[in-house]
Point group: C2
Chain length 331, copies 2
């Protein structure tokens, strides 16, 4: 519970520190490394978007609708609402013969400040396409339309589409998903509290295909390839997942979730990693994930990560002076 | 070190939790209440801006330059860069015969998203006047000009202005301020790590005048009155300090600092309160401060705080549904 995973310094002192849990699991479910409590149920939030996208691919809907790398990466994304993201979400809906009016995720300004200000500069406001989850929601709508179903109300647990994607979550993670462990996510779909270990195990399976069945394993490989080919679509400017996968390509598949969740698959090593910063801070989960990737990836990828600046965040003040850093706090 | 001061829920579960320290001290320095480690040196960051503004008032500079409630409140502020803040910072500099070119705080977009987007909509970018610390810096420049000093380099520890305001910090808090406990703040001036207890003691003195000497006590009362009269200037739209002082008036003087610091003076009770969320999260420091204010203020003020919605933050998703809350975690 109280393991410190990251700290923020200022001058020669630690100014703030972050408790958390982390676990590394292989595809057979064996725990390879653990820090803190890996069994405590935790909402994975957006970290499992790629699992939710599996039915879209394995059903053949993605292929029938002609969704490419960018659209599939966006289906797995928490994007920053930059123009390329908005355009791809719009394309997905158009392929299904639908538009932004079908999205039930709600509206918010782009996460990327520059994109928000640029949009404001046009005198227009945001639409549901700018919501960081619009690609995931567009994927649900594509799946519904391909099946000839009415997508209305797809965000509710009992809608056939939500039942189908929730079954995929339960299958990949091996954890029960039901009313007892259900909360509501920021975009209004359910999120289910599962052990961090189960989340890591899901990523080990998603990265290796082991234990998924042939069709689901192929769909997982397709989604990983899409994100590796279009890493900007899964996040955006300066986002950890985007910067990491731009640097490392298919050697890692990572995805953040709100409230300090990070999860990653290491296909070559057959491992899955999950991190929860207990206080919900992304900065801590990111440097802790980077430290674990450094430990479990090969030396070439380690160098690329250091080059990409992911292992430590320097903190600069408004005059550009370095005043401290955020760094992992375990060896 | 590991006391949980606040938690964020989702559904019927705690999703994230925040460790921290809190202490309540009277003007004589007696600890009335403590949670966690009150002796650990902590950077107070912007929480001590009102102490830094004391020389501006007690020297007579503020009166000679004709600074009113709004300008004095802005000298104590971490403001959101809304038009009223920018105008007041500009007025302060004009009173000293200076302009924004003298500010050494650096430039950032307004903290308030609406203000940032409105500024972007005009096609212009931010200036140093939009920096959340511009009022504090304008106060330093006013003090320098009133004394006939060159303000250039006022952000450096050895500049006469910085020495003068740092001496006020040391006097009010009773803690040493020197190279050994110095870091650099976001706006480039020094920040000194002091025990949380000393920060609370400083607020007890600032609120009561006890132990400050007659002139400094009068200056503290003037600054408190200015902020009570113009609480929007010390923060901005939806900021904790502004909402609290709009609801309670002079019954409390509160000020946030970066990385999860909150401090408050309760003049009628002669108490000072300081809170540090160890992970740096403002949401936790705010609800913890609200819980302590509820405990130590009279019943009428308690009702006003609850009405102002400060004791619990409901968390809504992008469709407006309440999905959880942030609340203090101690009784």
């Amino acid at each position: 519970m109280d393991t410190i995973i990251a700290e923020a310094t200022r001058g020669d002192r630690v100014e703030s520190r972050h408790a958390g849990s982390a676990v590394v699991v292989d595809a057979a479910g064996r725990v390879v490394f653990a820090l803190g409590d890996a069994e405590r149920p935790t909402y994975p939030r957006s970290a499992v978007k790629s699992f939710l996208a599996l039915p879209l691919v394995e059903s053949g809907a993605a292929a029938r609708l002609g969704l490419g790398d960018e659209e599939l990466a966006l289906a797995c994304a928490s994007h920053t609402g930059e123009p390329a993201h908005v355009a791809a979400a719009s394309r997905m809906l158009a392929r299904a013969g639908r538009d932004a009016a079908c999205l039930e995720c709600g509206v918010h300004w782009p996460v990327d400040d520059g994109a928000a200000r640029a949009l404001a500069g046009t005198g227009r406001g945001p639409s549901a396409l700018h919501n960081n989850c619009s690609g995931k929601h567009a994927g649900f709508i594509c799946l519904a339309c391909d099946q000839g179903q009415d997508s209305t109300g797809y965000i509710h647990p009992e809608h056939p589409i939500m039942r189908e994607v929730t079954a995929a979550l339960a299958d990949v993670t091996g954890a029960p998903h039901g009313p007892d462990n259900r909360g509501i996510d920021g975009c209004s779909i359910p999120t289910y509290a599962i052990p961090l270990r189960a989340l890591a195990h899901g990523f080990a399976r998603f990265g290796s295909g082991v234990g998924l069945g042939a069709e689901r394993a192929r769909a997982a490989a397709r989604l990983r390839a899409a994100v590796a080919a279009a890493p900007f679509m899964v996040g955006g400017t300066n986002r950890f997942d985007t910067v990491l996968m731009q640097a490392l390509g298919p050697a890692v598949f990572s995805k953040m979730g709100a409230e300090g969740i990070m999860a990653a698959a290491l296909p070559e090593q057959g491992l899955g990693i999950a991190v929860k910063c207990h206080d919900g801070a992304p900065r801590a989960a990111e440097v802790a994930m980077a430290a674990l990737l450094i430990r479990f990836l090969g030396p070439e990828n380690r160098d690329n990560m250091v080059l990409a600046g992911l292992t430590r965040h320097s903190m600069r003040n408004w005059n550009g002076m370095i005043v401290g850093e955020v760094r992992a706090a375990f060896a």
